[in-house]
C-alpha cells in the first residue's frame, strides 16, 4: 500500500477528473483544486507512466477512484477478473473514495464502453443490491453509487430513481454520489422537475457531487434532448440546480468532470474555482456551526 502523508479523505472542496495532459500544470499550480478523481480502468495496467503519475498524485492529493466498468446494473454476475483487478488497484492506492454507476456496460462478454440504463423494478433492485454487497465485501470498503443520465424511460419501471437509490443504499449501506448535471439532463429528457428530484433525494447519504457539461440535441418529435457529453463548461441552469442542492445538503466534495475536448488546465481550474465559490456560504456556515 502507498504511504500517504496527507489526510486521506476527500475535503468539502472542489476536485477535478484527472487528465494526463494536465499533470505538469496541476502539480505546478493546483489553484483551488484540492482532490482528484481517476477512472479505475485507466490504471489497471502493470506499470509505466500512468501508474507512476498516479503514485505521484496520490502523494499530493486525496484520490477518488471512479469505476466505469463494473457493470453493477448488469443482468449477469459481476466479472470476477475485473473485480480482482479493481481490488488490486484499491489495495495499492488506498484511495479516499470509491464510486461506481447505477448502470450496466457489459453483457454476453462484450464491454460496450458506455453507461447503459436499466429499469427500476423489484427485480433490478434485488440484483443491484446483491452486486453492491459483493463489491463492498470484495473491496472491504463502502462504495458510492452514482445516479445516471437518462435519455429514455423504461415502461416496466415501478420505482422512481430517488426512491430506488434510497432503497439500494438502505439495503447495502453504500453511500451516494449525486451527479447534478445528470439530474438536469434526465429531468429535461424525461420531463420531470429537477428540484423535485433533489427534494426527493436522500441527500443525507450523499458523500460526493459531480458537475459536468452537456450538449443539446432534439428527438424525432422535436423535444429537447440533452446529451451528457462532458465536453463543455457546466451549463448555467446546472449551477442554479447545484445552488439548490447545496442549500439543502450543505457542501460536499464536488467534482468537475471534463472528459472530451479537454481544455487547458487554467480553464478546468476556473470551473473548479467556481464550484468552490458556490459552496463557500455553506462551508462558512458548516465551519461556524
Amino acid at each position: 500500500m502507498l504511504d500517504i502523508a496527507h489526510d486521506n479523505t476527500l475535503p468539502n472542496g472542489a476536485g477535478v477528473g484527472y487528465k494526463p495532459q494536465h499533470f505538469a500544470a496541476l502539480i505546478d499550480n493546483p489553484g483551488t483544486v484540492s482532490w482528484l478523481e481517476i477512472h479505475a480502468e485507466n490504471y489497471m495496467g502493470d506499470g509505466g507512466r500512468p501508474m507512476a503519475q498516479l503514485r505521484h498524485l496520490a502523494e499530493h492529493f486525496p484520490i477518488s477512484v471512479h469505476g466505469v466498468g463494473l457493470s453493477i446494473g448488469g443482468e449477469t454476475r459481476l466479472d470476477p477478473e475485473h473485480l480482482a483487478r479493481l481490488k488490486r488497484l484499491v489495495d495499492w492506492l488506498n484511495p479516499a473514495m470509491f464510486s461506481e454507476h447505477l448502470a450496466w456496460s457489459t453483457h454476453d462478454g462484450a464491454f460496450l464502453n458506455d453507461l447503459l440504463p436499466l429499469p427500476y423494478t423489484t427485480n433490478t433492485l434485488t440484483r443491484i443490491t446483491a452486486h453492491i454487497n459483493e463489491v463492498q465485501d470484495h473491496l472491504g470498503r463502502k462504495m458510492l453509487l452514482e445516479n445516471p443520465s437518462s435519455y429514455l424511460a423504461f415502461a416496466e419501471s415501478t420505482w422512481s430513481e430517488p426512491d430506488f437509490l434510497r432503497e439500494v443504499a438502505r439495503r447495502t449501506g453504500c453511500g451516494l454520489l449525486l451527479d447534478v448535471n445528470n439530474v438536469f439532463v434526465s429531468a429535461t429528457n424525461l420531463d420531470f422537475d429537477p428540484r423535485a428530484y433533489i427534494d426527493a433525494y436522500p441527500l443525507d447519504l450523499v458523500e460526493e457531487f459531480h458537475l459536468a457539461g452537456h450538449d443539446e440535441d432534439a428527438d424525432e418529435m422535436g423535444r429537447k434532448l440533452l446529451i451528457d457529453s462532458h465536453g463543455t463548461p457546466v451549463d448555467e441552469p446546472v449551477w442554479t440546480l447545484f445552488d439548490h442542492v447545496i442549500a439543502r445538503a450543505g457542501a460536499r466534495p464536488a467534482l468537475v468532470e471534463w472528459d472530451n475536448d479537454v481544455p487547458d488546465w487554467d480553464i478546468l481550474e476556473a470551473e473548479a474555482a467556481r464550484a468552490t465559490r458556490h459552496m463557500e456560504p455553506a462551508l462558512a456556515a458548516q465551519v461556524s456551526a
Binding site: 509505466g48 458506455d114 429499469p119
Partner: protein, 262 residues
C-alpha cells in the same frame, strides 16, 4: 414524483440486456419495445444516443490506439473501418488500453484494405508498443555486470528480460513504416523485419534485431540460459550476430536481471 410514473403503462414489457445489446451494435435491429419518451411513445432517436455513444467511444479509442494506421488510411476511413470492427469484435474487458487486439487478423480479410498488405503488421507493432507502455516497471542492469562475466559464467547465466520486451517478426517493414510516419524517417522499403519492442523509462521503443535475433531473444524471454539461447540462434542462423543483438538489448533496457548459476 416523475411524469413517467403517472403515465399509463404500455404493458409489462421487459427489455432484456441481450435485446438492448443486440440493437445497440446493429443499427438494422429495431429499437426494443418498452423504451419510451416521457409520453410513453417509442424512443428511437433516444435509443440512438446510446448507439452513437458506443460507436463513437469505441472508434475514438481505436483511433487513439492506432495512430499510424489512422495516418496511413486517413482518420475518416479509419473510423468507418472501426465501426465494422467494433461490431464484430466489441471489447471483451473494460481495459480499453488493450482494445483492438484482434485488429491485425481483421485487417487480413477486410475488403476495404486488402490491397494495403502491410497494415496488419503495422497494427501488430502498435499493439506491442501499447503493451510495452503499460507493462510492469523494471530497472535495466548495468551493462558492465554482463561484460565482466567470463565466457563460462556468461553461458550459464539466465538473463531476466523486461516485462515490456517482446519480439515481433513481420512480413512487411512495419517499423520503417512507423518511423516514416511518426519520426520523419526515410521512405520505407524492403520486406519483413525482426523488431524488438521494449521500454526506456516510460517510453516504448522499437529496434531492429539481426537475423537469428528473434530465436535468441524469445529463448531468453522463455527463461533459457544464455548458452542455450545462443545455441538455438546459431543453429538457425550460423552467422548470428550476438554482439549486435546484445547491443540492442542493452540500448533498449531489455535486460533487467542477471541470474548467475549457483
Amino acid at each position: 414524483m416523475t411524469r413517467a410514473e403517472t403515465l399509463p403503462r404500455t404493458g409489462d414489457v421487459t427489455v432484456t440486456q441481450t435485446a438492448f445489446r443486440k440493437a445497440l451494435l446493429d443499427p438494422q435491429q429495431a429499437v426494443p419495445d418498452g423504451l419510451t419518451n416521457p409520453d410513453g411513445q417509442q424512443a428511437s432517436k433516444r435509443f440512438s444516443v446510446y448507439r452513437n455513444n458506443v460507436v463513437h467511444g469505441l472508434s475514438e479509442a481505436m483511433l487513439t490506439g492506432f495512430p499510424v494506421l489512422a495516418k496511413l488510411v486517413g482518420d475518416e476511413f479509419f473510423r468507418e473501418m472501426a465501426k465494422v470492427y467494433l461490431r464484430i469484435h466489441p471489447p471483451t474487458s473494460p481495459l480499453m488500453m488493450h482494445y483492438g487486439a484482434a485488429l491485425p487478423g481483421f485487417l487480413e480479410s477486410f475488403p476495404g484494405t486488402l490491397h494495403l498488405k502491410y497494415l496488419p503488421d503495422v497494427a501488430r507493432l502498435e499493439l506491442a508498443l501499447r503493451r510495452a507502455y503499460h507493462a510492469g516497471d523494471a530497472a535495466p542492469v548495468n551493462p558492465d555486470d554482463l561484460t565482466k562475466l567470463d565466457h563460462r559464467a556468461l553461458m550459464a547465466t539466465r538473463l531476466q528480460m523486461s516485462p515490456a520486451s517482446e519480439v515481433l517478426v513481420t512480413k512487411w517493414p512495419a517499423k520503417a513504416i512507423w518511423d516514416f510516419n511518426m519520426k520523419g524517417g526515410p521512405q520505407p522499403k524492403g520486406g519483413g523485419e525482426t523488431i524488438l519492442i521494449s521500454r526506456i523509462g516510460f517510453d516504448p521503443v522499437a529496434e531492429l534485431l539481426p537475423d537469428g535475433g528473434a530465436r535468441f531473444v524469445n529463448s531468453l524471454i522463455k527463461g533459457c540460459s544464455f548458452g542455450t539461447a545462443l545455441g538455438l540462434a546459431t543453429a538457425d542462423t550460423p552467422d548470428f550476430d550476438l554482439t549486435a543483438t546484445l547491443g540492442v538489448l542493452i540500448a533498449t533496457h531489455s535486460i533487467i536481471g542477471i541470474d548467475k548459476p549457483d
